[in-house]
């Protein structure tokens, strides 16, 4: 299913060897991240490991019982400490029973670990989803839905793989060598020492050969990341760049990355090849069998060991090395699971937005910024610095400025996508941090550039704004948003399924549905972020009409790139590099000949641009 094998075999084998060589160190380093994350299903994991271990014990003892069969065939019966005297059939039944029991235990352990893994998946995804709902929305936006989806989907899946498949193996691999060694020493400690000797010699040789493993592994991992990046770049650029030069320039870049990778990959496999091949040879059963046979011939010749004991040792002795083989699968699981656990932990570690213990309610629909300072996490420059302005209820304020001036930041601080670093944002006289999240969301509506529709009917998508709204109210909102006509023209009307996987709607149509949502919500404060940017001419006219309906009687804060749309705003706040550069009405600002006046002249020039194949003249009103 989700067996990890994107890494090379060479890597896995040598990794197995390294895991074996450094087995005691590995789990300690893991404990905090990985074991912490899978803690909720701890019970299932222990049970699965115990049953797997017990199953292994049964299997090995079952094999030993087969040796008992042999002994009885020679000498009739054998008396065991607890079971008393057993004959051939007694041992046969014992062996059969133990082998069947081991089979059943193996399957049970498999079932328990898988059910635990399924439960873990559900639990982790729910926890992550709940946590994301409490952290600043800004985090969700900057982390990106792509990366967060990857964590909720793929990283959780890698943990699933670890819990489901690795934990039973872990139980088996701990039990096998221990039980085998105990039995071997019980049977004949000379032969046990020989088997152990071969194993230890092999491990020592391997360890010696594996000295550079960490460095090589790191270099290889880096090369793999590089090739992954090169592949993504090549594929992403394909559609765009192909028209440029048939894609030959990007192919050259891709090819260079491929050549580098081949070089490093070759060095890696060749450097670790000897170690890996020695490992394979040692872990294969024959060397142990040969050594035990040689020692057996000597001991048997001197009458120091019975024939059945020799056969028993021959059957059991390879168990120590055998247990190491599955480690080569396990290490890859561990590697991925640890990386996944780390990313899950990173998300869970994002602090939640503090909520007030005694929430206050906003008095009216005014918005006030008072000496607001803000810096994005992981950035050194200040996004907003000492910004103060007041938007009285029922008025329109436009935010204007070059890109990067801080317009969108202002819009995002009002609904608390982030919290300010200094100063305060107030709505209706109350600090937004003192409002409960629900109250805040009910007071503020947004219409953003990127519209979002759920995979649900159009009616439900609109009703989302107010779940108790009647059909008539939903329709009225759709009419006001100029969406009713196109909705009824759809085959299923209001029942048409929208969303990414639903009916394909144009950008303008999606925009109008979100406006209908905002109209139905009827929040007193409205934030518009360049709502008409992507619309084509016909849609633009409809959206404009829809927005006019939406804005009726509201306090509006609008971010507009196209200045003509905000000429009549009550107040224009001009931002430049996070500070307020100017504030006033359009006419006053144009007259004062500052930043806004310059922006306005550029705007007029851009509006007057006429594309000509002989574009020798500049557009009217252009400032050089």
């Amino acid at each position: 299913m989700d067996m990890g094998s994107s890494a090379s075999v060479a890597e896995r084998k040598t990794a197995a060897a390294a895991a074996a060589a450094s087995a005691p160190a590995a789990p300690k380093a893991l404990r905090r991240g990985l074991w912490g994350i899978i803690d909720p299903v701890r019970g299932a994991i222990w049970l699965a490991m115990a049953m797997a271990g017990l199953g292994m014990v049964c299997a090995i003892v079952g094999v030993a019982a087969l040796a008992g069969v042999l002994e009885c065939l020679r000498s009739g019966a054998l008396t065991l400490p607890l079971l008393g005297p057993l004959d051939v059939w007694g041992f046969g039944l014992l062996a059969g029973g133990l082998i069947v029991a081991s089979l059943v235990l193996r399957v049970l352990s498999f079932v328990v670990s898988h059910l635990g893994a399924f439960r873990l998946e559900q639990r982790l995804r729910t926890d992550l989803a709940a946590h994301l709902a409490q952290v600043p929305l800004g985090y969700v936006i900057t982390a990106g839905t792509g990366a967060l989806t990857k964590t909720l989907q793929d990283d959780v899946k890698s943990l699933h793989a670890f819990v489901a498949d690795s934990t039973p193996l872990f139980g088996r691999n701990v039990a096998a060598p221990v039980v085998t060694l105990v039995l071997l020493f019980l049977i004949d400690w000379w032969l046990a020492l020989v088997a152990l000797g071969v194993f230890i010699a092999g491990m020592a040789a391997m360890r010696l050969a594996m000295r550079d493993y960490a460095v090589l592994r790191q270099r290889y991992d880096r090369a793999r990341e590089a090739i992954q990046a090169a592949v993504i770049e090549f594929v992403q650029a394909m559609a765009v760049v192909r028209m440029f030069d048939g894609g030959s320039a990007s192919f050259r870049r891709y090819n260079t990355a491929l050549l580098t990778f081949r070089g490093i990959f070759k060095t890696w496999v060749q450097a670790t090849g000897t170690a890996a091949r020695i490992t394979l040879a040692v872990l294969s059963p024959m060397p142990t069998l040969l050594a035990v046979s040689a020692a057996g011939i000597v001991l048997h010749g001197q009458g120091l060991i019975g024939f059945p004991a020799l056969v028993a040792v021959l059957m059991l002795s390879t168990g120590i090395a055998d247990a190491l083989m599955p480690l080569m699968w396990m290490n890859e699981f561990l590697h991925r699971a640890r990386a996944g656990a780390m990313r899950v932990q990173d998300v869970m570690d994002v602090p939640v937005l503090p909520t007030p213990t005694q929430p206050a309610a906003p008095g009216d629909a005014s918005v006030e910024f008072e000496a607001v300072r803000f810096r994005y996490p992981d950035r050194t420059d200040v996004a907003l610095d000492d910004l103060s302005f007041i938007v009285p209820p029922g008025t329109v304020t436009a935010l204007v400025g070059p890109s990067g001036a801080g317009k969108s930041t202002v819009a995002r601080l009002i609904p608390r996508f982030w919290d300010v670093a200094g100063g305060a944002v107030r709505i209706g006289g109350v600090d937004v941090r003192a409002c409960s999240p629900e109250v805040l969301m009910h007071h503020v509506s947004f219409v953003f550039q990127d519209t979002f529709l759920f995979h649900d009917s159009i009616a439900s998508n609109i009703r989302m704004a107010r779940p108790d709204a009647t059909d008539a109210e939903v329709e009225a909102a759709a009419r006001a948003a100029q969406a009713h006509d196109f909705i009824t023209a759809l085959p299923q009307g209001y029942d048409t399924i929208a969303g990414d996987r639903g009916t394909r709607l144009s950008g303008g149509q999606r925009q109008r549905i979100t406006i209908a949502r905002a109209i139905l919500r009827d929040a007193p404060i409205l934030v518009l972020d360049e709502a008409t940017a992507f619309a084509d001419p016909e849609n633009e006219a409809l959206i404009v009409a829809a927005l006019a309906n939406l804005m009726r009687g509201k306090t509006v804060i609008v971010i507009a790139h196209r200045l003509s749309t905000i000429r009549d705003a009550d107040q224009i706040v001009v931002l430049d590099q996070g500070r307020m550069a100017e504030r006033g009405t359009h006419d006053a600002l144009v007259a004062s000949d500052g930043v806004y006046a310059r922006l306005w002249r550029t705007h007029e020039a851009a509006q007057g641009w006429i594309l000509r194949s002989d574009a020798s003249e500049t557009a009217p009103g252009d400032t050089p």
Binding site: L66, A67, F110, R253, R262, G296, D322, W329, I610, D622
Partner: protein, 596 residues
């Protein structure tokens, strides 16, 4: 594109696919397989040495000379096995595996360059990335280990059975019976695991969409209090996933249990028979003891069997996904009837429908655009404007009609020859993680630095580039997000200017920009379009009033074609669009009293 096939691939099919994937290294793969097979024979013979070895030990008195001789034979067979295995693993550790992955990535890369863009659009970027990035390793990496283990699982028992035949035919037959019984169970298991994988993959697909929806809609969901455990849709699909997983687990359990049971219990039965024959005196104790030792070795690879099937499936799926990409035929290039004489563009009765859609995107469209003229494409979204530009780029071939450049059917031009004639400026700009200089030079790889700087100057981006930390040597990745949309757009225009292609296609290059960036990009475009055949898709009609000719599209048809003035006078579709745009332009975000 990760649908598994509904049939179980036979070993022969997998073998064929492996050789296909290995490409020019196929002989190395064959050699590896042969070495592994020979090694397995040697191992089987080494195991078989236990028969005479134990007989010598059990003889009265013990024949130690014989025992040492047979041990010697066993050592020889083991050494042969280890050497053959060592050589076989040379495919991986000698580096041939690196060559195979390298060649495969190259082959797939070349295929991406030549497959029709329409076919390319079938895959999501992420899926293709996974094929070129991950699938190759998934397909190639297990070749060595997997074939080693599988060959051993098949060959060693056969050799042992063959040797046993010489010692005790009943015993050999009893063992041989297990094999034909294992085959149907194996197929059942593969089929069940295939079905299981499909169901679980589907459920995972559903959770993934719901997770995407949840994170994207979080702002809305928060206002509704539908988050975390109260997020209904997400919770439903998480519960569904768990249910499907559990069901798949149980469904896969029986065949797996039966398989393991058959083999382990089957071997027990064989041993029980052996024991009975020993008590009856028809089988020597030594032969029985040897059987015990050897049979124990068979159950080891079988314990790994289910893990093995998973890797096997993964390799199969990876090979199939690569097959799907490699199977797409490139658009045919016919023998050139005549080379393009000029750079005029002609559509002659062109009808085109996108893959998988019945309604044509273009219906019987004909027009002629003279060289060095400016043409605007206008119409509502979905009316066919973008399709026209795509057909000129040979995104796909029209169902009917022809597209000509300079009188030559573009189907007769090689993709390089066609690309050399076109410059395209898209809305979304792709910049490589390289220096700004190299990103521009991409337009014409043999251009010298001075030519690159000149193009940057013409594209109005020289000044901002010089202000970057390392000027033209600044790596795009290092400054990443700090380049604005307008700046990125101007870099792409500099590329196009450097390329100096006679035909320029502009797809709303300024739609997403703020005022200042827009003006800067406009100036860059002015430099680009001089003396070229230009096609522009523009939403703002005022931009294109100066075009030599405006083509108005509606629902895939070319409904009007003339210059701005004539179209306004005609009072048709264009005039209506023009009026609509004037109206929305007059809109201002002024306060609206509540009671209007």
């Amino acid at each position: 594109m990760s649908h598994a096939t509904h049939t179980i691939p036979t070993l022969r099919e997998t073998y064929r696919r492996m050789l296909m994937a290995a490409g020019s290294e196929a002989p190395a793969v064959r050699r590896m397989l042969a070495l592994f097979a020979l090694g397995a024979v040697a191992q089987g013979l080494a195991f078989a040495c236990f028969f005479p070895l134990l007989r010598a030990l059990l003889a009265e008195p013990a024949d130690l000379t014989q025992a040492w001789i047979w041990l010697g034979v066993m050592v020889a067979a083991t050494v042969a096995d280890l050497i053959l295995g060592w050589l076989g693993h040379g495919f991986e550790y000698g580096g041939a595996i690196a060559d195979v992955t390298h060649d495969l990535r190259r082959r797939l890369g070349r295929q991406l360059r030549q497959m029709p863009m329409q076919a390319l659009a079938r895959w999501r970027t992420g899926d293709l990335g996974a094929v070129l990035g991950g699938s190759i390793d998934e397909a190639v990496a297990p070749m060595g280990t997997l074939s080693h283990v599988i060959i051993r699982m098949l060959v060693v028992p056969l050799v042992v059975i063959a040797v046993t035949l010489a010692i005790d035919a009943r015993m050999a037959l009893a063992m041989a019976v297990i094999v034909p019984m294992a085959v149907p169970i194996y197929r059942w298991q593969r089929r069940a695991s295939g079905q299981e994988r499909r169901d679980v993959a589907e459920a995972h697909g559903r959770t993934e969409s719901d997770i995407v929806e949840y994170t994207q809609g979080l702002a809305v969901l928060r206002t509704l209090g539908q988050t975390g455990a109260k997020a209904q849709r997400l919770q439903e699909s998480l519960a569904h996933l768990r249910e499907v997983q559990a069901k798949a687990l149980m469904a896969g359990l029986w065949p797996a249990l039966l398989m393991a049971g058959l083999v382990e219990i089957g071997l027990l039965v064989v041993l029980a028979l052996g024991g009975t024959w020993v008590t009856q005196g028809t089988l020597s104790l030594a032969a029985f003891a040897a059987m015990l030792v050897i049979v124990m070795r068979f159950s080891e690879p079988l314990a790994l069997f289910s893990e093995l099937t998973k890797v096997f499936d993964l390799m199969e799926v990876a090979l199939q996904r690569m097959d799907q990409v490699l199977a797409v035929a490139p658009l045919p290039v016919t023998a050139p009837a005549q080379p393009p004489s000029d750079h005029d563009i002609a559509f002659d009765g062109v009808t085109f429908a996108y893959e998988g859609e019945n309604a044509p995107a273009l219906k019987d469209v004909s027009f002629h655009l003279p060289a060095r003229s400016l043409t605007a494409l206008v119409g509502p979204s979905g009316s066919g404007k973008t399709t026209v530009t795509r057909l000129i780029m040979r995104f796909a071939d029209p169902r009917a009609g022809t597209v000509r450049i300079g009188g030559a059917d573009i189907r007769s031009l090689s993709s390089d020859a066609l690309a050399a004639r076109l410059s395209v400026v898209f809305q979304d700009v792709y910049l490589f993680d390289d220096t700004i200089l190299e990103n521009i030079r991409m337009g014409r790889p043999d251009a010298d630095d001075a030519a690159v700087v000149a193009a940057a100057q013409a594209a109005n981006c020289h000044d901002f580039i010089r202000r970057l930390p390392d000027g033209y040597a600044t790596r795009v990745g290092d400054i990443g997000g700090s380049l604005s949309g307008g700046e990125r757009q101007r870099i792409s225009i500099a590329r196009a200017i450097l390329k100096d292609a006679p035909i320029v296609i502009l797809d709303e290059p300024t739609a997403a920009l703020d005022t200042e960036s827009e003006r800067a990009v406009q100036k860059a475009i002015d430099a680009l379009v001089r003396e070229r055949t230009v096609l522009v898709i523009a939403h703002r009609l005022s931009t294109v009033v100066g075009a030599d000719r405006i083509l108005v599209f509606d629902d895939g048809r070319l409904v009007e074609m003339a210059d701005h003035r004539s179209l306004l006078e005609a009072g048709g579709r264009y005039a209506a669009l023009w009026t609509a745009q004037l109206r929305s332009k007059a809109w201002h975000a002024a306060p609206v009293p509540a009671d209007v």
